[in-house]
Symmetry: D2
Subunit: 415 residues, 4 copies
């Protein structure tokens, strides 16, 4: 089979390829084809990838998106619309208004989404026409995009992925010295706004033990920790991004006292690409890049979609009853039974009210943003911004939106 | 029939009585009986009331709550647990933490609710036992208390009331020079967090005209106005209390630059009571007290519950399908068909996503607060506070809660 | 305003006109325009109608359906696709297979629906294009057609009407010697499969008294009565048509021992039309025709849609929360708050399980039949027939369907 | 661990034991303890079981139900309240009224349920108190009893089992020469009223092939087959018991032309017990007894509840979103992800309308029957009987109920 990787020039690509190499014994990968609008970066990466892959499968570069996805069984979206320059603006603009500036959360996530929607829309329509492939999405904001594709573009074979769930699992597996597959979670929420309510390890409910240990520190996120009483009260493991909601002032201070993450990443990437030109092994520096276990998440998902063994993956898909007290059509990050090309959500009972408070509010924001995009409406965009828990006050909303739109005028136009 | 008024010593009582006098031609009121734990204030008010009522119905004072509600067909809750001193703390404490200090909204509403729940619980259980009367509730936070009584105490004949809906209607009726009954709204939300999506006047959809006029300024609330673009974007008339959510900084500044409203009210009340000692007419000063049209709302509701004519009242009750995309069991402020003792919600279609964003989040907070009270749990109380859009950051939550609990230790104890 | 009457040649028309004359003081009726494919019958009726109406409003005949509905504010569907000849087959064919042969229920209702759908579809699409009028439907099977139009054609301004609800109300009003408007019911179900769970008269719950009296005998239906224990067990007043479900053998015997109702009606109609040629008053014989109070139901509904007074009418429309334990999208026969052009369902709590058993089963049959029509699929039509509680066994289903399709081949073709 | 088997004197017991022996390498079974009110039969069976088991685990007989379930981790319900004599009446009485007489379906299932509920209620309450064990239920009507326990007794750890699902799977696995685990079904419905909508084998959707083959003939059921067009129309594999609904006359004829199945089974049992007295191997005659693969279903379920591997079992449990267009609280027979002591339903999308027609109607009947039992109400029992698609007409309902109640007066009393 053919796997298409969109955003082939990403610095993550070599890690993804390592993942695909790992599963290439279990499933038949014939070729991996890359597509990126940045041909230069892609060239460097793909040359390196070829050295990594040797002849275990064919490594190709596509002339066009359509060529890439034609005949593909899986399409991996890992492109970043607007690149790191775009991210820089997502992070920087909100700060001027005293708001969290973050790639996927709050106002930054809003502008990232507006940049992503037109590209995603075009790409998904092309896939629908030429191959009806299963799309695995890492493009951020990953859950928001899945909401868009599943509920508004109505393309079913689209699975949103993120490395947070697998890192939760890894932390727990390390805590108990077991394999990843021995960990089973009651897990739900939106992407970057998810909650773990119960933890099972080798069939035992170890939730209490986990709270006792509570060293749960995910990589890729700031080290500010919630105090102990927080976990005693909330009784949920929370996605690290919840810090932005619950420690807004502290996180704002932290962000503004550092260089923007986008700029750090630009430097790391520069070094990485320098290495990629000649490397034959994945350079250690890639670990600084974030995205830990990203390749494992993607490769194992493809493996289990291909096979008939029935494995659990935590992915972004429609709720469909998994959380009883949330509507069926909300796209959530939830455990699914993955088998033979399908990811079926499994029932997890009721969700916690605290978690639901944030999930509902941000889901409404997500949908308002999507509607703003679909109608190209500034008015709806303001409505979306005002509805976000991390959004602006009325006084700033209009200026903020104008600044965002101006900065992203090449990508999206609202009137 | 007998109507019991709980919190008879309230300065509002004379206005309520005026309302009851107004309907006493339509329905048979035999006696109104008052109960208040502040016997002194109640004495002043009731003496005045007797002068107002003359012999149109009997005016009695009850020795106990039980005596008051025994044989009553309607019980009106208008008591204020903790009095204005309690309100003063609700308003003052949050300010120290940089948070909105307001009687019903946010952290202030949280402590008001915790003070109210034990009294409401005891009173409702007594009514259930001795008379099964219909309770009409004005005690704040009125919607939160209705959620508590309907969904947790499971007492059905409890209707939460507020003067905001009738003031919306009055504003519109004045705008179009029509009667109150000529106005029909698509109206929904929580108490003090409600939205008007469509306006019908004499059967015509005048929504666009209303937005054009948009002088809609409700009394009883600060004069800070949303800008024009806000209404263009949101396309909803919003409850004035939404200002606290959407102009948080501005409203904080405003609150802190004035005397606390509770202290103003204390002064007004002092003057009012001075007048009540001798008055034979309702003194003009009562209009400064806020609560405009409160008596109309209550009296007309009682009239229409008694009669078989089928009138619309906007009250707090279970959704039961009125807003399709909200759960049936949410207590909402919605139009009901009132006839023969029952208030049946009417279907209004889907709610707007922007409105739903706030409604969901605050409903989750309401339920967490109720659970915190029922389990007398500080942990759950913290969880509730953290879930509120106007609640504290993690850094302050614990200190804030301790201060609130200390200030209200006579009313409620959490452990 | 203009009211269009489709099926103007119906023998009911004069009664309808009487209803319109009754309301013509309350609402401004400028003209009533008739359309019928049977021009001859229509001519006789309209001539008679003109004698009745005199000059109180204009009475017109349209050349085409489109002409009739153009500029109409209300369109009344009272046509019978296939005429009484069609009904004769609906009643006769099932009998050969030992099945209930009835105009609207079971297999007869199935073939009537298949004949009606193509006409309804064409007509509704025309109305949507030329006037967007409110359609009031009496064409049978009225509820089934409303399900089709609301949920499959997605035309909102379509209200299904039947004379059974108003006859329930009339019976009760006579029982208690009160006006129609003094009666308020908890009423729900499908058209011809409806249930009354509670009865209020002048605001009092008189349900027990009604069961005690239980002389409730609706006109238009056979006089076979349920035994007393039936009402003691079921605690519901039931639509007379439920006899076909619960006394299938007895009703079958009864039907086969009489002349077919369609043939009786043909004779009555012949006499009626003879009278219509010369009459200046509605002839007494019309009361034998069935359809009692049909004109009151229609005329009062139009009056209350026009006015702003808020009246309750029991009509076929989407549930939208009226019955909590039925899906929102089921078209049901339920009380609605009618005001200013809209009929909004009111919440009635949970439905009884016994009632739900039949409602669910027949609703699934309705939808399967609609899908069979939309896909012109014999296979789906068989599936629909097999799913009906009064449908054929597997042994007979295929022959039965073929015979129905053959008999109706001018109206609908399935492959 | 300890496994308690209630109804140890069942002729099926040796097969169950064979299943437990099969899994005893995978999970640690320390002892199996039996309880039966028929001590004599149990003695014969257990002696035989001891010869089969040898010393692979302890085989015990309990003095009381409480002793049996104390310390048990799993409790298997396979008792038959009223024994085969009870079944004989369930099968025989309906025939007199021209109704299907069948152990689990229709009127026979009704009386079986009424006999079972009091015993199940008492047993479940005991388990709740002494061990909180997981109960695996084979007692008939298995789904109806699960509805009762899950939704009315509110005992969560109760899983209803039946051998029909595993026989569906076996038929398909044989059709494609694959293992049981290679078959994955979209399967839903009530016990003995279930439907297969899609079939996957080794990850391929083979639904069309299955319909082509359609030799699908389940053992244990009559050989009357649906005609080919039936499957073409309905596009569902159907539970063999659907014959009673769709070929009622034919099945009635068949039943009345044979000896009652209960009497056949009595004879088979007599022979079996004769063999059991001396046997050291399971006698071939057991295969005539019905219940094929019963032991595999039970033993594999216990194995997979014990282990952490995540396997799919089709069991009776609450829907919880598995079928989107059925309420969450319906107990259904659906595929669950079984892992570490829990069976979590997996989302399967929407159910077919034809299937839903029967599922809804019979679920309402189930609940009415349960309510009749809980309130010991003849009136509600009549209501339940009248609501069943295979229930009596009004004319016969009262006599039929009285006869059933008289015949079962030792087991249950309604007033």
């Amino acid at each position: 089979m053919r796997i298409a990787v969109i955003g082939g020039g990403s610095s993550y690509t070599p890690e993804l390829i390592k993942g695909l190499l790992d599963i290439s014994g279990d499933v038949q990968i014939d070729e991996v084809i890359f597509y990126d609008i940045n041909e230069e970066k892609q060239k460097i990466v793909v040359d390196f990838v070829r050295r990594l892959v040797k002849d275990r499968f064919r490594v190709l570069i596509a002339e066009s998106f359509k060529d890439a996805v034609m005949d593909a069984k899986y399409v991996i979206f890992q492109f970043r619309p607007g690149g790191l320059k775009g991210r820089e603006k997502d992070e920087g603009i909100p700060l001027k208004y005293g708001l969290i500036g973050q790639e996927t959360t709050g106002v930054g996530g809003f502008s990232a989404a507006l940049r992503a929607f037109p590209v995603v829309e075009e790409y998904v329509e092309t896939v629908r026409k030429v191959s009806n492939a299963t799309i695995i999405n890492f493009t951020n904001p990953s859950g928001h995009i899945t909401e868009f594709v599943r509920n508004y573009l109505d393309y079913e074979k689209f699975i949103g992925l993120c490395n947070v769930p697998i890192n939760f699992i890894r932390e727990i597996s390390e805590m108990f010295s077991v394999n990843l597959e021995d960990v089973f979670l009651k897990y739900y929420g939106l992407n970057h706004l998810s909650f773990v309510e119960r933890v099972f390890v080798k069939g035992q409910d170890v939730t209490e033990k986990v709270f006792e240990n509570l060293k749960l520190k995910l990589s890729n996120i700031p080290d500010e920790d919630f105090p102990e009483w927080f976990y005693d009260s909330v009784r949920l493991l929370v996605n690290p991004y919840l810090r932005y909601y619950l420690m807004e002032k502290k996180m704002f201070k932290k962000i503004t006292s550092h260089e923007l993450r986008s700029r750090e990443v630009m430097k790391i990437e520069e070094q990485l690409f320098e290495k990629y030109r000649t490397a034959t092994e994945i350079p250690e520096e890639l670990s600084k890049r974030g995205g830990s276990m990203y390749s494992t998440a993607a490769a194992h998902l493809i493996r289990d979609l291909e096979k008939d063994e029935g494995k659990i993956h935590i992915v972004n898909t429609r709720n469909n009853g998994s959380i009883e007290n949330l509507p069926n059509d909300y796209v959530l990050e939830i455990p699914c039974y993955v088998r033979s090309g399908r990811a079926l959500s499994i029932s997890q009972g009721k969700g916690d009210l605290f978690a639901l408070s944030f999930i509902h509010a941000v889901k409404m924001y997500e949908r308002l943003t999507i509607e703003a995009y679909l109608k190209r409406s500034k008015k709806l965009a303001l409505k979306a911004l005002l509805s976000h828990p991390l959004g602006p006050d009325v006084e700033d909303a209009k200026d903020l939106l104008e600044e965002i739109l101006k900065a992203n005028s090449e990508h999206v136009k609202l009137v």
